[in-house]
């Protein structure tokens, strides 16, 4: 998240403040990846426009707050606006998902990827050309819960947003996991497995695709809400294609159809990125940050083409591993 913290610290020391910032970013990207996993991993729709819904959520939240005036920081009204903007952001992204999904979900594979890619770009360009949303400049999102001015407030602010971020991630994971483990979830996965067979066995494939796409968009919107409030200002550059690719990379690295994988991959990718950024491994490696994603992708394809977890979950490990005792 450029802009939210000074990237260059002359003498870097590991601190809770730094770690909290990293974990907040991990929670955000894990949420985004989990929501994309519903669309791409479980429902099998290859979407390259997930950052578009992320942007819609962020700007919807920012707009909502600006309309609500400037409630006193930390007041009950401010908390209400904070939570209200979450609902509004998710709904706005869900509506965008529905509007994009209905015409686009007739397309499959590469064609769907191109159409969603175009959507992501359209969102960014529309925002750039809408003065009410800040145009290509920043839209500032007034602080509602804590104003991080002094060092003490920054610390409280980070702790608070870490808690909110983890809560957001947990809600996302539980909702998606519970949906998948139901009759409706099995219908969604059957569309990925064989759409024609699925339809001929009574599954309303189009309806389920739209539902999965819309729900995935809603959670991406929730991620946007979180980012808008955490960073305090949003700009179109925060939602470019690279962000969409980063989300997709986390999903693929973790494993299509594995929520645990999305979380672990977010920890790994964001963790490496942030560690390199600190410069503790030297200035050279700091520049190598640019190569990280490409390198990770190449290693992934060579070592684990199905992602770290494949379609398995962490919970499978302690469910089935018992007969295998560690050999000395």
């Amino acid at each position: 998240m450029p802009g939210s913290v000074p990237l260059l610290l002359a003498d870097f020391t590991f601190s809770w403040l730094w770690l909290a910032e990293v974990l907040i970013t991990v929670a955000l990207y894990a949420t985004l990846a989990a929501s994309l996993n519903l669309v791409t991993g479980y429902a099998g729709m290859f979407s390259l426009g997930h950052h578009g819904f992320y942007a819609v959520g962020a700007y919807a939240a920012g707009w909502f707050v600006s309309v609500c005036g400037h409630p006193e920081v930390g007041s009950a009204v401010a908390v209400g606006v904070f939570l209200g903007s979450a609902v509004f952001a998710s709904l706005a992204a869900a509506v965008a998902g529905l509007l994009v999904g209905v015409p686009c979900l007739r397309l499959r594979g590469d064609y769907l990827a191109i159409a969603t890619l175009a959507f992501g770009e359209i969102v960014r360009i529309v925002i750039q050309n809408t003065p009410a949303l800040g145009g290509s400049l920043e839209l500032s999102v007034p602080r509602l819960l804590v104003d991080p001015r002094g060092l003490a407030e920054v610390s409280t602010f980070r702790d608070l947003f870490l808690a909110i971020g983890v809560a957001m991630l947990l809600v996302t994971l539980v909702v998606i996991r519970n949906l998948i483990r139901s009759a409706h979830g099995r219908a969604i996965v059957s569309v990925r497995e064989d759409e024609i067979a699925s339809e001929l066995l009574g599954v309303r494939t189009t309806a389920y695709k739209i539902r999965a796409f819309t729900l995935g968009a809603a959670f991406a919107g929730l991620g946007g809400w979180f980012y808008a409030h955490y960073s305090g200002s949003i700009a179109p550059a925060n939602f470019d294609l690279l962000v969409g690719i980063k989300i997709l990379l986390i999903v693929v690295l973790g494993g299509l159809g594995s929520l645990s994988g999305s979380v672990v991959a977010a920890i790994v990718l964001i963790g490496i990125e942030r560690l390199l950024q600190t410069g503790v491994f030297g200035e050279t490696l700091k520049e190598w940050m640019q190569v990280e994603y490409a390198l990770v992708l190449i290693l992934l394809m060579l070592l684990r083409p199905n992602g770290i977890f494949g379609s398995r979950e962490l919970s499978d490990l302690w469910g089935r591993r018992s007969p295998r005792k560690a050999a000395p």
Partner: protein
């Protein structure tokens, strides 16, 4: 209708053109409950196209299809399936990465009786419905003899088991009509006999009519109550296995003109 009860499934003058090719040309067929009927013909005779029309996968160019007396013309495939038409596929189309149990449970999604929101909170109604769906699915797996591999992924099952799993999955729709597209393809004689028994058991224990496409004549003749024969999309014969076996047009379609002369 002419006074008698409407047949379970009825196709009237079914035609399907692909460009200039008449894949199905004027097929009429009827099915009644507890009947096993076969649709045979040389390769490319239009049997699978016929199935695709009956299940709503292809829209017939002309003709009418009625299920339980109701016309289903123009219905999407999922609606035809929910109305009680279950099918298997010539090339196995299981949900490969899903378990056998989940394969069989999937067609029941529309009978779940709870919405998407209920999946999040997993209340008593949700749990009761899930228990009911799982019990139904296990019963079907037992019926086809796959009760022991419920938790195996479909792709891990041997070929014969995959064919049976497709049948169980089609039965999960509680179909009134079960369409089997070459169910015995690639099976050895013992597996075929086993399959024939399974099909009879399904007919005897469930209120269903079975329509099957099959190339193995011994299998078809031993199992079917009636047979329809297609050649180049045109119906050329119908009747009991004995009638069809002796029909010179059938022999000609399968073996050529000389053979039919030689045989008569």
């Amino acid at each position: 209708m002419t006074g008698t009860a409407a047949p379970l499934l009825e196709a009237l003058e079914l035609c399907k053109d692909f460009g200039g090719l008449k894949a199905v040309d004027g097929v009429c067929l009827t099915l009644a409950t507890h009947e096993i009927v076969a649709l045979i013909g040389p390769n490319g005779a239009g049997k699978t196209t016929c199935f695709n029309c009956l299940t709503g996968a292809d829209r017939p160019t002309s003709g009418e299809i009625r299920i339980g007396g109701q016309s289903v013309g123009g219905w999407p495939a999922w609606k035809v399936a929910q109305a009680g038409v279950g099918r298997t596929f010539q090339n196995i189309r299981l949900f490969k990465e899903m378990t056998a149990l989940d394969n069989v449970r999937t067609p029941c999604a529309f009978q779940a009786g709870y919405g998407i929101v209920a999946t999040i909170f997993r209340g008593p109604k949700f749990r009761a419905a899930e228990a009911r769906l799982a019990a139904q699915a296990r019963e079907l797996l037992d019926l086809v003899g796959l009760g022991g591999v419920a938790d195996a992924k479909a792709r891990e099952l041997p070929y014969g088991a995959q064919r049976k799993l497709e049948i169980a999955r089609a039965l999960a729709l509680s179909p009134r009509v079960l369409l089997l597209d070459e169910p015995a393809a690639g099976m050895n004689p013992a597996e075929k006999a086993d399959l024939a028994n399974l099909v009879r058991r399904i007919r005897d224990t469930r209120d269903v009519a079975v329509l099957l496409i099959e190339h193995d004549m011994k299998f078809v003749m031993g199992l079917s109550d009636r047979i329809y024969v297609l050649d180049h999309g045109v119906p050329i014969a119908k009747g009991t296995p004995d009638q069809v076996r002796r029909d010179p047009r059938v022999i000609e379609a399968y073996l050529g003109v000389d053979a039919s002369h030689g045989a008569s």
